[in-house]
Symmetry: none
Subunit: 187 residues, 4 copies
DNA sequence: GATTAATCGAGACGGTACGTCCAGTCTTGGA
DNA sequence: TCCAAGACTGGACGTACCGTCTCGATTAATC
């Protein structure tokens, strides 16, 4: 019978080890030791490091990004949400976990899909956009998913590039991607 | 005196091993064997796997993406350039190298920077956009770099997500990102 | 729980590799391969090559020298035992293992002690001498250990020097060392 | 033309490195560095570590044992010479070089022969014995070489065994080996 | 006294083995 | 009965030396 306590301990250990040491340095042995569990217990239930991370993502053990606020002004909300995020990307330690997850996603399809499904950023952004759409703030024809991809993709790229932050970046990005779809009378 | 033959053989072996086995499975030992070189020769000159890849990128040993054509119609050119790329992203084998490079970039800052600098996609796209700008096809105020980030970032995200291709994706993405900046009379 | 099979295989591989290749050429890697064992298994239980040899000596895996016969005539028995041994010392291949063990003993105290304790030559010679002593063939005051050291030491020296054998050497050595201690009426 | 300065520096470095680190840890690279000489300069003139040591022995760069005194009383002289030597053998650091040379001799025939030829102990002991013989202190029939082998062999064995010193050992050994050959009226 | 050939130092090369870490499998003993 | 603990085979790690090889720089002997 599978021990729930062990399962949780393992996923939490996975998360903390990933945050602390990175994808490459993440070892099953280390996770087992941190979770006070035998290695075979891990191998019994998960086939690989990636599967562990995919599961840890699903479990919400890995940290979470806040949702954009909903003040009624989509543009302002998105900028307010994006700006500190881009600023944070300057700090390579703060984005370390992001990068580790990107690496994991690049290596393993399951992590990629799970990361996408579990990632609050993607989901919450989509929700905010579709809210705006239902209110008429955004054109009905606006391709919500693509807009999300463009914004988050640009963020990912900046993280990978270790880009430096400049004030106005967030506004420029939001405007670039959003401008074409703002409903005529919305402003 | 450093042996140029060894240097080239090592970088080429790095590229071919990376393409064949992926970032995680990439071993210095394997590279050394493939390059018919002693391990210490590699360690003498490169501190890590990442440094090898960064160098291989600089050397142009890793494959290259074509430039968008310049027919005079920016939108059409970008779509023609982007569409097959997105379609290709359906094929997980074809994008494997892309994903390996993303993983490497996520793990190592040097690779990230080099990948950005050496990546023809980023550069060529920027050139095409700035050409369009100088012709008045694109608004003078258009943030070329951000537009590039949004497009390529969306592509990266789809590769990570193993998204499936749908006809029209390329056009939608280009329109989303570009629409706000097309010069008034340009269409 | 330690694997007995692995332990024995490793000690036997050590012995055969030592005999075949010598102390200097003895590699842990080679032993591991010959014993079909992982290197870490060796390092888990033995800190060094020397410790392996010391253990192999204790296990009796390394070859053994016959005891001197006991015909009642000490001098004749010792000569009969020593003569073929000295003759053999002419053959550098036959004494190779002896030399390897000397080298190992010189490098490592544990091997030295174990070699002394496990070496049947020392022990059997001492037993034969003390038998002779209890029978009155040898003076009660005879320093058995020193006599043993002198005989075996001379042998070791000849092996190191790659001395050539001459008939009568054995008798001369036995007489030199023993004469002073033969009990007056024993002959 | 061969550089004499380099030759001497190399042999001295060999000697000091051997004394300092032992036979096993003796590296050509270390010798070259200590002698401020390129490795090929060593390989040009000596085929192996052993050859270096054999040469260093011939050069007298390696330390030397004193001759037994000649007071006219052979037994007393030998004991006086042997006793401090055996006592010294208790100190494992002091005998380290002896053991290293034994190891080298065991591994390499050339060193064995050279060690024997160059070793003052063997030679000086033989000289002292033959002096005693010519004076009639020792029987004309005494096998000088064997007596030497027995004494020095016993010493070597004690060094290998890391035996502890007991007062009287020297006297007992000398008596054991010598008693049979002291000329009747000599005492 | 200049030229030329040998030898020098330095150190990179292809390799082998080192001793370590971790992977993933298997076995055992205690809960 | 299940699981922690941990030993097992195996393979890659990054390092130390091996013995060989090119390099220029420096001598030493010949011309």
């Amino acid at each position: 019978m599978r021990s729930e306590a062990a399962r949780v301990a393992i996923l939490q250990a996975t998360a903390s080890q990933l945050a602390a040491r990175g994808w490459d340095q993440l070892t099953i042995e280390g996770i087992a030791a941190a979770a006070k569990v035998g290695k075979p217990t891990i191998y019994r239930w998960w086939p690989s490091k990636s599967a562990l991370i995919a599961d840890a993502l699903g479990e919400g053990v890995l940290p979470v990004m806040a949702a954009p606020a909903d003040s009624g002004d989509l543009r302002a909300d998105l900028i307010a949400w994006l700006d500190p995020t881009l600023r944070l990307a300057d700090d390579h330690d703060a984005t370390a976990l992001t990068r580790y997850l990107i690496a994991a996603a690049a290596e393993d399809a399951a992590v990629g899909e799970r990361l996408d499904a579990a990632n609050p950023a993607t989901r919450l952004l989509a929700e905010r956009l579709s809210q705006a759409q239902s209110r008429g703030e955004l054109a009905a024809s606006a391709p919500i998913e693509l807009i999300g991809d463009a914004i988050i993709g640009a963020f990912v790229l900046r993280v990978l590039r270790r880009a430096t932050y400049a004030p106005g970046d967030a506004a420029a990005l939001v405007d670039t991607v959003l401008a074409a779809h703002v409903a005529p009378g919305a402003r």
